[in-house]
């Protein structure tokens, strides 16, 4: 009997996970297009359905109606497999995500490590797709994407380690419990949050780190040879990723499903108001993603790599060490961590521009003088 319930439970969560991915992708595409438009003083798509809400549905049907095209020299198995694989990350990561109190598939003891491991799947799928396309541009694009994602995984892991050091646990359930009573991690570890957030934007291949695609410059990178619904899967994953990553960030740093009135409506052992808070927090973060993408110009490849290896990783290491030291030796660790983290954040924000400017000036001075 237990086994049957377990299987049904598993099926339920699989359905939920896929539903979240598809709904999130469709919603996010409209969400992003509308908000980008608003910030550019435009209206954006507003014809399909009320306020253009059905635009993505129309787009999805268009995608599905397209020819299922495969280049003749492409690897038939891998070419088909890659778009399927690309969804795995977004779906599987939800196993450990506590949507709300009482609604989590399996609160693994190694939740954080699981997240890191699963995130790598997207890289793999992109590499597979680029390789299988039998097109050098696809391959170069895929390698670029892989290089970027692997590079930014390191600061992401460093930030996650700092989080784990604070929580003393790798379980997301424990982490959410730790942040109950509005003691959100972002309030006393904002620097960790910043590192994680920047790295996660890069992991998502979104602006200003959207080099693998950079729709205004490249031929869509690894997606060159993909069309129709296969392309749609990559696209879908990217937009679903916005929500999934925002949910992870909300869980790690913004108190997860905790919020005012979280216990108001509880049945079937699920905190339904908490779910509302969780989605709300996630969508505030999705909005931030859209906002950042619109505001900041795209980096160059060398800048991208330099930022990961020369800025984020050293800072992540320092942050990890400092966090660990605070947790070890400071009795009132929340206060100690808050002091360090806020100071670090302010220093980073304040010093980034002048240091960068000085560096650029020195680089310019080293350049040979050309008398044209």
């Amino acid at each position: 009997m237990d086994l049957v319930i377990d299987i049904l439970r598993a099926l339920l969560f699989v359905v939920i996970a896929y539903a979240v991915v598809f709904v999130a992708a469709l919603v996010n595409i409209v969400f992003e297009r509308r908000f980008l438009a608003f910030m550019q003083d435009r209206l954006g798509p507003n014809r399909t359905g009320p306020q253009g809400l059905l635009q993505s549905v129309a787009d999805a049907f268009k995608m599905m109606g397209k020819e299922d095209f495969r280049p003749s020299l492409a690897d038939p198995v891998l070419f088909t497999l890659a778009p399927v694989m690309v969804m795995i990350g977004a779906v599987a990561i939800q196993v450990v995500l506590p949507y709300t109190g009482g609604l989590v598939a399996r609160d693994l003891d190694v939740g954080l490590i699981y997240i890191v491991a699963i995130t790598g799947f997207t890289t793999l799928a992109i590499l597979t797709g680029g390789w299988a396309s039998h097109n050098k541009y696809s391959l170069v694009g895929a390698l670029r994407a892989a290089g970027q994602m692997i590079s930014y995984e390191v600061p992401m892991i460093l930030a996650l380690l700092a989080v784990a050091a604070v929580a003393g646990s790798l379980s997301l359930g424990d982490l959410v419990a730790l942040q109950d009573g509005y003691r959100w991690l972002v309030l006393y570890a904002p620097f960790t949050f910043l590192i994680f957030y920047i790295a996660s934007i890069a992991e998502l291949n979104r602006g200003p780190f959207d080099l693998p695609e950079s729709e205004s410059e490249l031929v869509a990178g690894y997606g060159s040879e993909y069309s129709g619904m296969r392309f749609g899967m990559f696209f879908l994953n990217e937009y679903a990723g916005m929500t999934i990553m925002s949910m992870v960030v909300a869980t790690l740093f913004f108190g997860g499903w905790h919020g005012p009135g979280e216990d108001a409506l509880v049945f079937w052992g699920v905190h339904w108001v908490g779910l509302l808070w969780f989605v709300l927090k996630a969508y505030v973060l999705v909005f931030a993603l859209v906002w950042v993408r619109l505001s900041l110009p795209r980096l160059q490849v060398d800048q991208l790599m330099a930022f990961a290896w020369k800025v984020l990783i050293p800072l992540g290491l320092v942050n990890l060490l400092a966090t660990a030291a605070v947790m070890l030796w400071v009795p009132r660790w929340r206060l100690g961590l808050a002091v360090f983290s806020w100071l670090a954040l302010l220093a980073f924000v304040g010093l980034f521009d002048p240091l960068l400017k000085r560096r650029l000036r020195r680089q310019r001075e080293r350049l040979p003088v050309v008398n044209a």
Binding site: F35, A37, F38, M39, Q40, D41, R42, L43, W291, V292, L294, S295, L296, F348, V349, G350, F352, D353
Partner: protein, 253 residues
């Protein structure tokens, strides 16, 4: 980092701002009062012909007077505007007494005079070459009207429309042009009240220009009747023409 925050502040500020998009079929932009837009003749998709019936109401009503309607029926031969203007001018020519032409024709019968000589004689009689006279010449001599017209319009000495008593020729040769001939013409136009190439209403003066008089050393030059004036300035020109107008009792316009 601060620069980035600044950029993000800018974009966020634009979020609640008024949008510039005009939802076209439902909303229309209000055009400025004096906007003229583009002129276009609407083609009727059913017949493939212009919907414009050349009623010239638009020409009449246009506040800035930039519309000219030149209508032709598609059954007419295309008549260039210039020709049409010439036609009108011809119709406005005064009636001439063709009996005066008889000596010229007699001369031709007796001596077989050349065309140019005949035209010169005709012009001597009427002061110009009236259309009616040329038609008579053509009928009597068998020389086609177009050939006569060709000769008459080729030589500068022949005039096809009535001219004033005094013919004012302003030289517009290179030397005179450089020395300011356009200014001289402008001054004359102002004093006489008629544009270049036209005759005053009292038929006293005709203002025209010639390519060169061969008096470049005195540029700019003009000739009134037989008298030539050189080294002109606009002021000097005005003085000369005013004196002359007073003398013959001519009025402006």
């Amino acid at each position: 980092m601060l620069g980035m925050l600044k950029a993000m502040r800018t974009t966020l500020r634009h979020l609640p701002m008024k949008k510039v998009t005009v939802q076209y079929p439902e909303e229309r932009e209000r055009l400025p009062e004096r906007s003229r837009g583009l002129f276009r003749v609407v083609i009727d998709p059913a017949s493939g012909e212009a919907r414009c019936r050349a009623c010239t109401l638009c020409e009449t009503n246009c506040p800035v007077q930039v519309i000219r309607v030149n209508a032709t029926s598609k059954y007419d031969l295309p008549v260039p505007n210039v020709a049409r203007l010439a036609e009108r001018r011809l119709a406005a020519q005064p009636k001439v007494d063709l009996a005066l032409l008889q000596p010229v024709l007699d001369d031709w019968y007796e001596h077989g005079t050349g065309l140019i000589a005949m035209l010169q004689a005709t012009q001597e009689i009427y002061g110009y070459l009236p259309r009616a006279a040329l038609e008579r010449l053509s009928l009597q001599t068998g020389i086609s009207l177009s050939q006569i017209y060709g000769v008459a319009s080729f030589y500068n000495q022949f005039r096809l429309s009535p001219v004033g008593e005094y013919l004012i020729d302003v030289c517009h040769g290179t030397a005179c042009h450089v020395a300011g001939a356009p200014l001289i013409t402008a001054a004359l136009e102002e004093e006489l009240g008629v544009p270049e190439g036209r005759t005053t209403r009292d038929m006293k003066f005709t203002l025209s220009s010639v390519a060169c008089m061969g008096a470049c050393s005195q540029a700019p030059v003009m000739r009134i009747g037989d008298q030539t004036y050189g080294n002109l300035t606009p002021d000097k020109t005005r003085r000369i023409i005013r004196e002359l107008m007073e003398k013959v009792g001519a009025k402006r316009g």
